[in-house]
C-alpha cells in the first residue's frame, strides 16, 4: 500500500487536521469529525447537513461553505458516520428553520442518518431528508437496497445550497432536493481498484487489460468486467445506460464528469470530449459542465458521468455564487 499516511486508523482524523490547517473558512471539529463553516449562515435559513464515509474528498467536507453545506460529518473510510456526529452537527447548525439531511443511498448511511434524525426530532429540531439514488448500474427494485447515490449528490448540494442561502423554507428546499435527486442519473467505470488504508491491499484485483463497468464510489467491483477499451468506447458505456434509463433530450442538462481519485485531468478532459460528442449526437443539450475529481473513491483510477435535467430555476441555483474549498465561483 503506497499512501501518504501514518497509522491507517488515524487517516480520517489526520486528514481533517490538515483540512483545518489549509482552510480558515472552515471550522473543523476534529474530535467529532465534523466540518462546519467558520462563519455560520444567517438566522432563519434552512441548514444543510451531509456526510458519509471518508475517502470521497472533496465530498463532503470540501463542500462546506457559503452557497453549499452548513456541516459535513466524516465517517471512517468508506463507513458512514455515526448518529452521534450527525445529531451534533444537526443541532449545531439549526437556525430554527430546520435542517435538510442529504444522504446517499447506502444501507449504512440511510440507517445512521435515520437514527440521528429521530434523535434530532426528539430534541425539537425539524429534520427533512433527501436520499440520492442515481446510479443506473444498479437496477431499482423495492426488494433490494435500490440504487446507489453517487454523482448527483454533488450537484444537489450545490443547487439546494444556493436555494437555502436565498432563504427558502424547509418544505420547498426539500421538494427542490427531491426534484434534483429524481432528475439525475449516473454511471461509472474503474481502471484500477482503490486501497482502503485499514485493509492494506487493493479491494479487488483487476488485470492490466480489464476494467470494471458499473462501479460505485466505495472501491467495490462493478456490475461486470470488460476488456479495457479506448476512451470513445468507454464513453459509450457511460452514456448509453443513462440515456436508456431516462430521457435527457427535453430541456437542458448539466453534465458532470467525475474522476475517481487517481485519474488525472488530462484523461478526464479527453473522456469528456468523447462524452460531449455522443451527447450532441443523441440530442442532449448540455447547458453546464463540471469536469474534475469531486467525489472520489480513494486512489481508484476511473470516472463517472452524471447527467441532470435542469430547468431555468435549477440553472439559476447552479450559477449562484458558491465559496467552498471544493467548488467556488461567483461572489
Amino acid at each position: 500500500m503506497k499512501k501518504f499516511i501514518n497509522d491507517p486508523s488515524a487517516v480520517v482524523t489526520e486528514a481533517l487536521t490538515g483540512m483545518a490547517a489549509a482552510h480558515p473558512s472552515l471550522r473543523v471539529d476534529v474530535e467529532q469529525r465534523i466540518v462546519y463553516r467558520a462563519r455560520p449562515k444567517g438566522a432563519g435559513k434552512v441548514a444543510l447537513v451531509s456526510g458519509g464515509g471518508s475517502g470521497h474528498e472533496p465530498m463532503h467536507g470540501g463542500f462546506v461553505g457559503a452557497g453549499m453545506l452548513d456541516a459535513a460529518c466524516a465517517g471512517e473510510v468508506f463507513t458512514s458516520p455515526v448518529p452521534d456526529q450527525i445529531l451534533a452537527a444537526t443541532k449545531e447548525v439549526d437556525n430554527g428553520a430546520g435542517v435538510l439531511h442529504i444522504v446517499k443511498n447506502y444501507t449504512g448511511d440511510v440507517m445512521n442518518f435515520e437514527m440521528a434524525a429521530e434523535l434530532a426530532a426528539a430534541d425539537g429540531v425539524e429534520v427533512a431528508t433527501v436520499v440520492t439514488a442515481d446510479d443506473v448500474a444498479v437496477q431499482d427494485s423495492t426488494y433490494t437496497a435500490g440504487r446507489r447515490g453517487v454523482g448527483v449528490t454533488v450537484l444537489l448540494e450545490k443547487i439546494v445550497g444556493a436555494a437555502a442561502e436565498s432563504g427558502a423554507d424547509l418544505t420547498s428546499i426539500t421538494a427542490l432536493a427531491q426534484r434534483v435527486s429524481d432528475g439525475g442519473r449516473s454511471m461509472g467505470v474503474a481502471l484500477t481498484s482503490g486501497t482502503v488504508p485499514a485493509a492494506g491491499q487493493p479491494t479487488f484485483d483487476l488485470p492490466e487489460d480489464q476494467m470494471e463497468v458499473g462501479i460505485g464510489i466505495h472501491g467495490e467491483p462493478g456490475r461486470r468486467r470488460e476488456p479495457l477499451a479506448p476512451a470513445h468506447e468507454v464513453a459509450q458505456m457511460l452514456v448509453e445506460p443513462i440515456l436508456d434509463d431516462a430521457d435527457f433530450t427535453q430541456g437542458e442538462t448539466i453534465a458532470f464528469l467525475n474522476g475517481m481519485g487517481a485519474t488525472p485531468e488530462i484523461e478526464l478532459y479527453l473522456m469528456y470530449g468523447e462524452v460531449a460528442k455522443i451527447l450532441t449526437d443523441q440530442g442532449v443539450t448540455v447547458a453546464r459542465t463540471l469536469v474534475g475529481s469531486y467525489m472520489t473513491s480513494l486512489d481508484m483510477a476511473g470516472c463517472s458521468l452524471t447527467l441532470l435535467t435542469a430547468d431555468d430555476e435549477l440553472l439559476r441555483w447552479w450559477d449562484a455564487p458558491v465559496n467552498t474549498p471544493g467548488l467556488r465561483w461567483g461572489q
Binding site: S9, G53, G75, E76, V77, F78, T79, S80, P81, V82, P83, D84, Y106, T107, G108, M111, N112, E114, M115, D135, A137, V138, Q139, Y143, T144, A145, R148, V196, A198, A199, T203, F204, G216, H218, G219, E220, P221, R223, R224
Partner: protein, 211 residues
C-alpha cells in the same frame, strides 16, 4: 457452573467476541472486499474495542444496562451498516433484559428474539437476502428448540452456533438483495457474507462461555 448469564459472563462473552473478531479481522475484510467495501473487519474491531472499554470502565449494574451500553457503543463507534444493525440488536436485548441480574435460558431466548426483531426492523432484510439475518435467524430458532426442551444453556447455545454457521455457509450461493453486496447482482453469488460470518462468531463465542 451456573446455567444463566450474569454481567461477568456477558462481559466474558463480549470479550471473547472481540477476540474472535480481532482474530478474524482480515478474513472479514477479505470477504467484504469481494462483495462490499473492505471494511467489515475494521468496523467490527473498532466497535467491539469501544464496547469492551465501556463495560470494563464502568461495569453495568444489570444485564439490561450491559446490553444497552454495548448497543450504544456499537451505534456510536461503528457507523456503516453493521453499527446500527448490531447496535439495535443489543439495544433491543437490553430492553427485554431490563434490570435482571441473571438471564436464564428462557429469558435469554426472549432477548435474542427481540434482538433479531430489532435487526430485521432496522435493516428490512428477509431470510435469503444474504445478510447477517441468514445466520441469526436459524441460530435463534435452534436456540429456542433446545430451550423449549429445558436446556441446558450450553446445548442451546451450541445448537445456535451450529445453526448460525450453517446459515453463514448458506449465504455463499445466494444473490444479495440487501446491503452493498446487492449492487453486485449476480456477481455476489459464490461469496460468503461478511456480516453472517461475524454473526456466527457472536454465537460461537456465546457457546464457549458455557462450555
Amino acid at each position: 457452573m451456573a446455567d444463566a448469564w450474569d454481567v461477568p459472563l456477558l462481559t466474558q462473552w463480549l470479550t471473547g467476541f472481540r477476540d474472535a473478531v480481532d482474530q478474524a479481522g482480515e478474513e472479514l475484510t477479505a470477504l467484504d472486499s469481494a462483495i462490499g467495501d473492505a471494511d467489515h473487519g475494521s468496523n467490527m474491531q473498532r466497535g467491539l474495542a469501544a464496547a469492551v472499554s465501556a463495560v470494563t470502565d464502568a461495569p453495568p449494574a444489570d444485564c439490561g444496562a450491559f446490553f444497552k451500553t454495548v448497543g450504544m457503543s456499537l451505534v456510536s463507534n461503528v457507523g456503516g451498516a453493521s453499527g446500527p444493525l448490531y447496535g439495535t440488536l443489543f439495544l433491543r436485548m437490553g430492553t427485554v433484559a431490563g434490570t435482571a441480574e441473571t438471564l436464564a435460558i428462557q429469558l435469554f431466548g426472549e432477548c435474542l428474539q427481540a434482538g433479531l426483531d430489532g435487526l430485521v426492523q432496522r435493516g428490512k432484510a428477509q431470510a435469503g437476502d444474504k445478510t447477517m439475518v441468514d445466520a441469526m435467524l436459524p441460530a435463534v430458532r435452534a436456540y429456542d428448540e433446545v430451550a423449549a426442551d429445558g436446556g441446558p444453556m450450553v446445548s442451546a447455545l451450541t445448537a445456535a452456533a451450529q445453526a448460525a454457521a450453517q446459515g453463514r455457509d448458506g449465504t455463499t450461493p445466494m444473490e444479495a438483495k440487501k446491503g452493498r453486496a446487492s449492487y453486485l447482482g449476480e456477481r455476489s453469488v459464490g461469496h460468503q457474507d461478511p456480516g453472517a460470518t461475524s454473526m456466527t462468531l457472536l454465537f460461537e463465542t456465546a457457546a464457549k462461555v458455557f462450555a
